[in-house]
């Protein structure tokens, strides 16, 4: 039987969700709703009797203090009612917890035909509401047709007895699982099948695949297990493993790099090897704190004598662009599995985010899958639920706006874990699978979700992109698994662990079995969400919240006992062997039997032509803009710009202090509302040590030269981490590349060779900067197709590409957190110093962008000069000589003097003429020195009594006292180069501008 229980807040109580809907309907669409009430609907398909249903309704689903409920539709008045429910197969987290609660409370188990599903309806009152508006709210605000369905009822259409008539959203496949043998008689035939089945095989891989399966020795060995030509499962396995997502074909590819100014060509054989692996391995030898890099799910660095930390970062762009909430929650919950699957498993202790989206007020003709404003709302909420419910503090994050991201928005998520450096006397960062060990899958079940996710993310978004790979992460299930696995680790039950992410079991088992050199997998044992999946679907499904673990047979009993206690599902699904074969069975039938070393069979590298056109050749020049006359107005206008203004509302939604180790928070200052340079966290509560973490994004500089974009991005991340008290001798790096398509195509991607050259240049800068600053790259990822083909006004599709973007994150271990520093000036009378030289470097600055200009003079990084200053900053902080320290970043001194003024809540008087300056890159005017984004700079405040020590420490370096902090007024006063007053603004004016754009958002 099917029953619906409706639950709503008592009518005298404020309906926060309804209120938020009214507000958004008005501000997004100008639709006026007078009253909105939300009703939760729980649909139960089960053989419960009436009294059991009453118990479920009253004792589980209804709060007697605040709610009313009924087994019939609640009679809440409306003009229009919108019902929203999930599509079948979409993860319904509240439905699953309701089942758990009902099962426990009634002592009942649910059969395969029973289930609980949740949905909602909204009762709207509004005299002026018409169907078109209500449908707009349903489809563009309340639901996303990729994962949800909706119905709209006018009051006349409403049947008060059957209400929204909700049916269980269950998947019925009615299909007998099978596998197919694929005809590979010709390259063309296989290419055709690849297209039809969405395998995304690279045409150049096809002959290699055919050669393997047609090899007589291979055929003979396959015959013995009843196979001949490849099965669909085998081709899917190869497709997953060879995808750019899993195999990093771009970074392993061959680049023919040509500089158009001299036509010299250089062959780059592997960007990864040359610019990431080699320098990192050299630094690993030099830096004893580097524990494990370049092979595991995340990099490992030493935290203290007993513990190591683990760091990695991911992007989850493609899914987030189609279903922002689902994509983002899946992204953060997914990246959190990487530290869980690093070494023998680490405990998560912090995460961070980076969002790059289009103009949230865009009202032009192009139609992205989701409007940037809606996309940002969804992404913020996804990371909120994913991060908060994982019990992991989100200690830092950035949000950036640029029209290029309307083609594809970027969602960066970063995860850090901590683990004891030894488990049962063995190093925790080492792991391996051995023959005879059982393969166990723990966590969630497998469904059709996430099939072909990795191949989809390896393509540009187009009308053919399958939507089925969008999922909704389940942090609750994963948190239970996290707690469980740490106990197993400490008991020494886990010789090997890895997560199931892109590629599902195909990747996790395929890769882990290479260590033991073989495996047998029994696919029929894999627990499914619903029956009817084909073998290849079980093998490559990306259903979330799953880990693959090796367990020795003698430890199976204890492992399963702990699994049951923690309410985590674990299943033995195979065994590691040393047969050299990946052997997959379903019951008695073999559905895959290939050599473990198949993927080393000479698959060709990808190749790219890269042509560098220097900014001069491209005709870039400095713009012609005369000096402004009203600097007060100008500065306020800049502070209102989305990229410089307050994004406090996002950070406040994220729990940034769970686990109790917060030292420097994401928001600092007297009013706790100014973004901090970096966060500092104590992952080990009994230790005085802290982990400083920063990140930086400066994609605008790619408009001029991605080399300098990369160098400046790393430099800023380093300065941020130094500003809170970081240790220059211990800086770990994490590079997350997001690049538009670089494969040249005269019609589809005519500037591909230039973008390819930009990538080579960024990699060169990465290597040079990391070598100079001695930053090993603990982890890194790439996402290579950040383009979108958006429908325009006349039915055309316009390609919109994102700027070449790298998010660079830096980690540092601080020995004594009591020495940490924040950016806010603290005491009246303190002296204000600027460290580092200001030059004419307004190229691609926020200032030029305010005039729609790009310019030419992109900031340069002078590694050798800068690092002397950074080391001195470290000494100054360690010796407690500075009261505040802040890295100057986007918006230059103008923006950053404003930030520190607001952070300190005190007046500031400074003279631009006292700045360390240099005219080598062009003339210096008030606007150049105020808004130049020259790298390498800090603003520091120092107590007068420390003046001599401080100046002695910075002797011979670019460091000048430019003014003082005062409590005689609360204004920011800046004198011009000619010492006349240039800016004189009150705290109130600064705060008003800073909060104007997003200040009323909560």
């Amino acid at each position: 039987m099917i029953y619906c229980i409706e639950i709503a807040l008592r009518k005298e109580l404020r309906d926060a969700e309804g209120t938020s809907l009214i507000k958004k309907a008005d501000s997004y669409f100008g639709i006026n709703i007078q009253e909105a009430r939300c009703i939760n609907i729980v649909t139960i398909e089960s053989g419960l009797d009436h009294s059991q249903l009453q118990v479920v309704k009253d004792e589980i689903l209804t709060n007697p203090v605040t709610q009313v409920s009924s087994l019939k539709p609640l009679s809440i008045g409306f003009h229009w009612c919108i019902w929203i429910g999930f599509r079948p197969g979409v993860k319904d987290n509240p439905g699953a917890t309701a089942m758990e609660a009902v099962a426990d409370h009634l002592g009942k188990s649910f059969g395969p035909d029973e289930g609980i599903y949740t949905s909602k309806r909204y009762c709207l009152k509004g005299d002026t509401l018409v169907r078109k508006d209500v449908e707009k709210l349903a489809s563009e605000l309340l639901s996303n047709t990729i994962i949800q369905q909706f119905k709209v009822f006018s009051i006349d259409e409403w049947n008060k007895d059957i209400g929204a008539d909700v049916k269980p959203a269950k998947v019925i496949l009615d299909h007998t699982p099978c596998f197919e043998v694929i005809n590979i008689e010709s390259d063309e035939q296989l290419a055709k099948i690849s297209d039809e089945r969405n395998l995304a095989l690279n045409p150049r891989d096809i002959p290699v695949i055919r050669e393997y399966f047609l090899d007589s020795k291979v055929m003979d060995s396959r015959k013995k297990v009843g196979l001949c030509e490849p099965t669909d499962l085998e081709l899917e396995y190869i497709s997953q493993a060879r995808s750019d997502h899993c195999n990093h074909n771009t970074f392993q590819g061959i680049f023919r790099y040509k500089d158009a100014s001299n036509n010299e060509e250089v062959i780059e054989n592997s960007l990864f090897k040359t610019y990431i692996q080699d320098p990192t391995l050299k630094l690993k030898d030099k830096k004893e704190w580097v524990v494990s890099v370049l092979w595991d799910n995340a990099g490992v660095g030493r935290f203290d004598g007993e513990n190591n930390y683990v760091v990695t970062g991911e992007t989850h762009n493609s899914p987030s662009n189609m279903e922002a909430y689902g994509g983002a929650i899946t992204g953060i919950v997914g990246v959190y599995r990487d530290p869980m699957g690093t070494g023998l498993g680490s405990k998560l202790f912090m995460g961070s985010f980076g969002y790059c989206v289009g103009d949230i007020n865009y009202n032009g003709p192009l139609k992205p899958p989701l409007h940037p404003r809606r996309l940002l709302d969804g992404v913020i909420e996804g990371v909120k639920d994913g991060g908060n419910k994982s019990g992991v503090p989100t200690t830092l994050g950035q949000t950036l706006f640029n029209p290029g991201y309307m083609g594809k928005s970027l969602v960066f998520v970063t995860a850090l874990g901590i683990m004891p450096n030894q488990v049962k006397g063995k190093p925790s960062h080492e792991k391996k699978t051995s023959p005879g060990e059982l393969i166990i899958m723990s966590g969630g079940r497998v469904g059709k979700d996430g099939i072909h996710g990795v191949t989809a993310s390896s393509e540009s978004y187009s009308e053919n992109t399958p939507a089925g790979h969008v999922q909704i992460g389940d942090p609750y299930t994963q948190k239970k698994m996290h707690d469980f696995l740490l106990i197993c680790r400490d008991e020494g039950l886990i010789p090997f662990i890895t997560d199931n992410g892109g590629g599902g079991l195909s990747s996790s088992i395929g890769e882990s079995a290479m260590i033991s050199n073989g495996c047998v997998v029994w696919l029929d044992k894999v627990p499914l969400k619903y029956e009817g999946l084909d073998m290849w679907e079980i093998w490559i499904s990306e259903s979330q919240e799953r880990m693959t673990i090796a367990v020795k047979p003698e430890n199976l009993g204890r492992f399963m006992e702990l699994s049951a206690e923690h309410a985590v599902e674990s299943t033995v699904i195979g065994e590691y062997t040393d047969t050299g074969k990946l052997h997959i069975k379903y019951k008695d039938e073999t559905c895959a039997y290939v050599d473990m070393d198949l993927l080393d069979k000479g698959f060709p590298s990808w190749e790219f032509d890269a042509t560098w056109l220097s900014p001069e050749i491209r005709g870039l020049t400095e713009p012609v803009i005369s000096s402004p006359s009203d600097f007060n107005k100008l500065l306020l206008k800049l502070l209102e710009r989305p990229n410089l203004s307050s994004k406090e509302w996002i950070l406040r939604q994220y729990d940034h202090e769970v686990q109790g180790g917060s030292v420097i928070k994401p928001l600092v200052g007297v009013k706790h509302n100014i973004p901090s340079d970096a966060s500092v966290t104590r992952p080990v509560l009994t230790s005085q040590k802290g982990l400083a973490f920063s990140q930086s994004l400066l994609p605008w500089y790619s408009k001029i030269d991605a080399y300098h974009m990369m160098a400046c991005t790393i430099d800023e991340a380093v300065r941020r981490v130094m500003a809170v008290g970081g240790n220059f001798d211990h800086i770990g790096g994490l590079d997350n590349f997001c690049w538009p398509n670089i494969q040249f195509d005269p019609r589809k991607n005519p500037d591909g060779t230039f973008k390819a050259a930009q990538l080579v240049r960024a990699c060169r800068a990465l290597k040079e900067t990391c070598e100079k600053y001695e930053i090993p790259l603990l982890s890194g990822k790439d996402s290579m197709y950040v383009d979108g083909h958006l429908v325009g006004e006349f039915g055309e599709r316009v390609k919109v590409s994102a700027l070449e973007t790298v998010q660079f994150s830096a980690t540092s271990v601080i020995d004594d957190i009591s020495k940490c520093v924040t950016m806010d000036p603290k005491v009246s009378g303190d002296l204000v110093y600027v460290l580092g030289v200001t030059t004419n470097e307004l190229g691609a600055s926020e200032y030029y962008e305010a005039f729609d200009k790009t310019g030419l003079n992109v900031p340069h990084v002078d590694f050798d000069k800068f690092k002397v200053v950074y080391k001195a900053v470290q000494t100054a902080i360690e010796n407690e000589l500075v009261a505040s320290c802040h890295a100057v970043a986007r918006g230059g001194l103008g923006a950053h003097l404003s930030y520190i003024t607001m952070a300190g809540g005190l007046g500031l008087e400074v003279n631009l003429s006292d700045l360390p300056m240099d005219a080598s890159r062009g003339e210096l005017s008030n606007e150049t020195v105020l808004f130049s984004e020259s790298a390498g700079r800090f603003i520091v405040t120092v107590s007068p009594e420390n003046k001599n020590f401080f100046e002695k420490l910075f002797k011979g370096m670019a460091a000048s006292c430019i003014g003082f902090v005062t409590d005689l007024h609360d204004r920011l006063k800046i004198s011009a180069l000619n010492k006349e007053t240039l800016i004189d603004l009150s705290m109130e004016e600064l705060e008003k501008a800073f909060n104007k754009t997003f200040g009323d958002m909560i």
């Binding site: 926060a16 709060n63 203090v65 509240p94 609750y476 948190k479 686990q659 109790g660 107590s943």
Partner: protein, 274 residues
């Protein structure tokens, strides 16, 4: 020497167990993190402990009301153990999700000696969203609450989406009259916020941030005292350090007001049970 045994619940999405155990240790207790299922199965006996801590987190994902399913599960399986724990005069503290669980169990407010009735609720914040911010709290000096003895004001962070305290007006009046309202959201001087956002971050009636039962031995609060386990947790610590430095002093790095709250509980057990 005899140790005060504190049981910190874990599992099913709870997530503040480590730092809650840590503060209990700092407060002089022997803290054990125990999975809810270990109590349910009887592997661990509640009677072996003196203090029971319902910590923060998202038990069962907060689906169907924060703390609701946790309360139901405990009531179904160890309901009588909980009541006898209370009857023995032992201590229970519920923080954030734990407070939500306590009110859904009926252990709070425990009016008329009924520890099973749900009469108050922690519902969705008026601001419509989850919110992390530090709050100023004013303690009720007349309150019988064991944990807040000698505490007048405290700063702790709140981190919740469902922290708005509501009840029928008579219940609120009774709580006020009984001095069961332990903490109110306040301004920096300790004057109650009178509903003003963001001082009162969620719209709680009467600025209620925490309540106790009539005996003062069961205490629930939305803010997280365990998140103030070290002087560097406070958002203003770098500024305070500078001020003190200029006066030739250093910041008291000993016990925070967060740890102090737990120490009051531990000391109470030492006084009455040993």
């Amino acid at each position: 020497m005899k140790k005060v045994n504190a049981l910190i619940l874990t599992g099913f999405g709870l997530n503040c167990d480590n730092e809650t155990a840590h503060v209990f240790e700092l407060a002089g207790a022997n803290a054990q993190k125990i999975h809810i299922n270990a109590l349910v199965s009887g592997k661990i006996k509640l009677e072996d402990f003196h203090i029971l801590a319902f910590g923060g987190g998202f038990s069962w994902g907060d689906d169907h009301g924060a703390g609701v399913i946790q309360a139901l599960k405990l009531k179904d399986h160890i309901g009588s153990d909980l009541l006898s724990f209370v009857a023995q005069g032992k201590l229970i503290i519920g923080i954030c999700n734990g407070f939500q669980a306590l009110v859904n169990l009926g252990l709070l407010p425990g009016l008329d000696n009924d520890y099973t009735k749900r009469t108050v609720c922690l519902t969705f914040n008026d601001c419509g969203n989850f919110r992390d911010q530090w709050v100023h709290l004013a303690a009720n000096l007349q309150s019988p609450c064991v944990f807040t003895k000698d505490i007048q004001t405290a700063d702790y962070p709140v981190r919740h989406g469902e922290g708005k305290f509501i009840a029928d007006q008579e219940v609120i009046d009774t709580l006020l009259a009984n001095n069961q309202v332990v903490f109110k959201y306040a301004d920096i001087q300790g004057v109650p916020a009178k509903g003003a956002f963001p001082l009162n971050p969620n719209g709680s009636m009467e600025d209620i941030a925490g309540i106790c039962d009539p005996t003062g031995r069961i205490f629930g609060l939305m803010p997280h005292p365990e998140a103030y386990n070290h002087f560097t947790n406070h958002p203003d610590w770098t500024r305070k350090t500078q001020f003190l430095k200029r006066e030739g002093k250093t910041l008291d790095q000993e016990m925070t007001i967060g740890v102090n709250l737990f120490k009051n509980g531990v000391d109470y057990i030492k006084e009455y049970f040993f």
